[in-house]
């Protein structure tokens, strides 16, 4: 399940938009300009099923997203989708992993409190007995130079 964001969860002044998400979903997004720095030395790890529904998250995922684990399990991974991320990036992600290949890119993720955090993400298909059963996504701390490049590039991809 994916719920609209609620004003009472948001930390600070926010902007409201409605986002069309993968799989025909749409969601009311409330977002702020507050950045949470990526913590040194940690990896954010999650797995999803083939449809992109979250089946596992680690502690760092919970801490950085601002959601409780129970809110994340069973939700589509697009719960993290920030309106500043161009749809083309996610199309590229799905096109790549659907071919059975690894995808890597820099992603601005949305927190429950409306803030954001940048990650370097790698997604790979989980192959069991020659069949793709889901996907593992591992996020690590990105270089600031790469993030600055994305901040300039992404608005041109809409």
């Amino acid at each position: 399940m994916l719920h609209d964001m609620k004003a009472e969860d948001i930390n600070g002044e926010f902007t409201e938009v409605t986002l069309d998400l993968y799989g025909g979903l749409s969601r009311k997004i409330l977002y702020t300009e507050v950045e949470t720095p990526y913590p040194d030395g940690k990896l954010i790890v999650s797995t999803t099923d083939k449809e992109g529904v979250i089946t596992h998250v680690n502690r760092s995922f919970v801490e950085m997203s601002g959601y409780e684990e129970e809110e994340l399990l069973g939700a589509p991974h697009s719960i993290l989708r920030h309106p500043d991320m161009p749809p083309a990036a996610f199309k590229d992600l799905w096109d790549t992993v659907n071919k059975g290949e690894k995808w890597q890119g820099f992603v601005k993720n949305l927190r429950k409190d409306g803030g954001y955090y940048w990650v370097k993400a790698t997604v790979i298909p989980n192959v069991r007995d020659d069949e793709v059963v889901g996907y593992t996504s591992v996020r690590r701390k990105p270089s600031r130079t790469k993030v600055e490049e994305c901040i300039k590039l992404y608005p041109t991809l809409f």
């Binding site: 040194d40 680690n58 790698t122 593992t136």
Partner: protein, 248 residues
């Protein structure tokens, strides 16, 4: 029939005798003839694996994918509470406070340990550093990595966290940690090869019951472990997938 057991060459030297004690104990418990072969380095060990000489291995996580997917190995157990973590450290006089402030061209002292090297290089990425713009100084041990830092022959050192913590206080006082990984899910595992697979359940049960008798407990202590934890196929696949994302 005789089987060969080997241990990832990054084992702590203090536990060398422990592995021989463990091997003797395992032979008696499982009624197998098992020869413990300690290889000098990862290259020699991988060659032996490729020649199908290895039947049982305490494996570095970096080699897990190759063992499972190319050589038909299966996981048995891991040491409870132990995961492989890495540390990036500098000389205490180094003014750098953050990896992001390190410059390209720096000298990085490392050992051959493949998983620690990989985790360390990932922790240098926020500083726009990678294999193409740093100079790697290979060292045989973590004490030598520390010495390179103390003598200012290297700018940063990549350590296995456990080995860094085991350095003498005198050395540690002269070093400063920039980053310590908190990954938690990358670990060494005891794994079993195709020739022993029919004994997998039996060996796994024997290992899980080690704490049940005084002798077994003593053997674990000599390895620096409290007890083993079961590793099932899916946990191993999960770690392999995770390692796969990190080698990109």
């Amino acid at each position: 029939m005789s089987y060969q057991f080997t241990v990832s060459p990054d084992f702590t030297p203090d536990h060398l005798s422990g592995w021989y004690i463990f091997n003797t104990w395992l032979q008696k418990q499982t009624d197998n003839a098992i020869h413990l072969e300690m290889y000098n380095d990862f290259h020699d060990q991988r060659e032996a694996i490729k020649k199908d000489n290895v039947d049982l291995i305490y494996a570095n996580p970096f080699d897990a994918a190759m063992l499972v997917r190319e050589r038909g190995f299966k996981p048995l157990v891991k040491a409870a509470g132990l995961s492989d973590e890495a540390i990036i450290a500098v000389n205490v006089d180094n003014q750098v406070e953050d990896v992001a402030h390190l410059n390209s061209g720096i000298k990085v002292a490392v050992t051959e340990d493949p998983d620690v090297h990989m985790m360390g290089m990932i922790m240098l990425e926020p500083g726009d550093l990678d294999a193409s713009n740093v100079e790697i100084i290979q060292s045989d041990t973590y004490v030598l990595v520390a010495k390179h830092l103390l003598k200012n022959e290297a700018d940063v050192g990549i350590f296995l966290a456990e080995s860094f913590d085991d350095l003498s206080n005198m050395i540690k006082k002269q070093l400063r940690i920039l980053v310590r990984s908190q990954i938690s899910v990358i670990h060494h595992s005891l794994m079993i090869g195709p020739k022993l697979l029919d004994q997998r359940e039996n060996i796994q049960n024997t290992l899980m019951q080690m704490t049940g008798d005084e002798k077994g407990k003593g053997v674990l202590e000599s390895l620096g472990f409290t007890h083993w934890e079961n590793v099932d196929d899916e946990e191993m696949e999960f770690m392999i997938d995770l390692m796969d994302t990190l080698t990109m």
